[in-house]
């Protein structure tokens, strides 16, 4: 993807990202590898960025594009909320992501926006390349996601508890990182619920061992 004309050597988040909603909140997860060509530019990246106190986004695609988009959404959301006087909703934040991505098709961005708000509870929206907006109970993205569509279809079930969801996210990321060269490092997770935000990290060598033959 970085080999497109004009994007050679660009900083890309190769990536495995995932977000899953449960009753009462959401769990977001991502790996921590950023690549420039075949060199790992940053092995401890944080790809889960807050756009509001209760809303986060997982970034994948071009680092520069996604960082700029997330900064714009944070800024616009803040002004919007001070004008309306309401707390930000995940739907509003996701719509802002979609508007930026759809109106600027040259941007290489695949973003999952998830969080908790009073109106919808925990919700997950995904904005892939092209700028469509899809609300779903869970979403996976990035180059590593192609390897676990089957796993997710088999193992996701609605109505999971917080611990089950966290376990599902961790396992999914482990499988993604095991097979995708552009994903690796450590696993970062963020749990958002009505009580606030809980960030966590699992180092790469502490993940459960995947069968390697």
């Amino acid at each position: 993807m970085a080999e497109e004309h004009g994007r050679e050597g660009e900083h890309m988040t190769g990536t495995s990202i995932i977000a899953v909603a449960f009753d009462g909140g959401v769990v977001l997860g991502a790996d921590s590898r950023t690549t420039t060509g075949s060199l790992i530019a940053n092995r401890v990246t944080n790809k889960i960025q807050p756009v509001a106190d209760n809303i986060f986004c997982c970034r994948s695609g071009s680092s520069a594009d996604t960082e700029t988009i997330a900064d714009y959404v944070t800024y616009i959301l803040k002004i919007h909320c001070s004008e309306t006087g309401d707390a930000p909703t995940v739907h509003t934040a996701s719509t802002l992501f979609r508007q930026l991505c759809y109106q600027n098709k040259q941007l290489l961005a695949n973003i999952i926006c998830a969080g908790w708000d009073e109106i919808d509870g925990g919700s997950v929206y995904t904005v892939p390349l092209g700028g469509t907006l899809v609300k779903a109970p869970y979403a996976i993205g990035g180059s590593g996601s192609t390897y676990i569509f089957g796993y997710c279809d088999a193992h996701y079930k609605p109505g999971m508890t917080r611990e089950e969801t966290l376990d599902f996210v961790t396992k999914a990321l482990t499988f993604m990182m095991a097979r995708d060269g552009s994903s690796g490092g450590l696993i970062r997770t963020v749990v958002v619920d009505k009580d606030g935000v809980h960030r966590s990290m699992i180092p790469g060598d502490k993940l459960f061992r995947v069968w390697v033959g």
């Binding site: 004009g6 660009e10 900083h11 060199l39 530019a41 990246t45 071009s62 680092s63 960082e67 700029t68």
Partner: protein, 298 residues
């Protein structure tokens, strides 16, 4: 044939006129690229290579300071254009920035951000923050979509403590405890990954940064010259150790210098031309007194 030649001359002149009269819209104007291509094609002129800093730049955070280090070689293709250039640029009294990539781009970008921050300081009356410098630089680089080829390591100390950021030409950035960029970064990464740990003392940090740049100088062809180190202390003051070390000095150098006895180079032919007889040297006219205009003489 004469008519054809005149016609192509006329066409060439017309195309030049067209180029000159092209309207300038916003953003980059590429009319000089067309003119360069024209000159290269019609007159066979070769243009010099862009001067790049091949480079090893390194930054690391110690317990409460930031150490930035860099080599000093600037290259123009395979040629070393400058053996002792400065790659650690001033941004603010408490913020400095190492630059890799095209020299002109790094120098002008850091110069621009530095003057914007100076005006900002006059407006706010406060010490500059690294987040401000970071945001300005990222937005500037993103605006130019990676065509401004500046890869920077921004480091400094402000009210939030010591911070180090890597900024890429397309406008993305990462905050890290230690960082390296440039062609020598692969060599320097080995040193940093082995020896860096949290809570380093200042002189340990300086030694590790110096060793990382030396690894780049010794193992990368695009890096060389001296090792420059800049330390930003926890109180926001900066200590510059310019040319701290020279790992690749010329070993075989005669301390007495080089003197060659007369006749070392054989003289094959000697011709002497006297200066022209009709050239005379005159004393200069006295300077005009203040208030008096000099007479113009036709």
């Amino acid at each position: 044939e004469e008519a054809n030649k005149q016609k192509t001359e006329a066409e060439a002149q017309e195309s030049m006129l067209e180029l000159l009269q092209q309207e300038k819209g916003g953003g980059f104007g590429f009319d000089l690229c067309a003119r360069n291509a024209f000159l290269e094609q019609r007159l066979g002129m070769r243009f010099p290579n862009v001067r790049k800093t091949g480079t090893t730049i390194v930054g690391l955070t110690t317990k409460d300071c930031v150490v930035l280090a860099a080599d000093t070689r600037a290259t123009e293709g395979p040629l070393v254009a400058d053996k002792n250039c400065e790659k650690i640029h001033y941004i603010a009294p408490n913020i400095h920035c190492c630059g890799a990539g095209t020299s002109a781009d790094t120098e002008n970008t850091t110069g621009l951000i530095s003057s914007k921050l100076a005006l900002h300081r006059l407006s706010t009356g406060r010490q500059s923050r690294i987040a401000t410098a970071l945001r300005m630089t990222r937005q500037h680089l993103f605006h130019y979509q990676g065509y401004v080829s500046a890869a920077l390591i921004l480091g400094g100390v402000d009210l939030h403590g010591p911070q180090l950021h890597m900024i890429y030409p397309h406008g993305s950035a990462s905050q890290l405890p230690f960082a390296t960029m440039g062609s020598g970064s692969l060599a320097a990464t080995g040193v940093l990954e082995t020896y860096w740990k949290e809570g380093l003392e200042l002189e340990d940090g300086v030694r590790i940064a110096h060793d990382a740049v030396c690894a780049g100088i010794l193992n990368d062809m695009g890096s060389g010259g001296f090792v420059d180190v800049t330390i930003i202390h926890k109180d926001g003051t900066t200590e510059r150790r310019r040319n701290m070390d020279h790992p690749t000095q010329r070993t075989f150098k005669n301390p007495a210098g080089y003197t060659f006895p007369a006749g070392t180079t054989p003289v094959l032919l000697k011709e002497v031309f006297p200066a022209k007889k009709d050239a005379t040297v005159e004393a200069a006219a006295p300077a005009a007194k203040e208030g008096e205009a000099e007479d113009m003489q036709q």
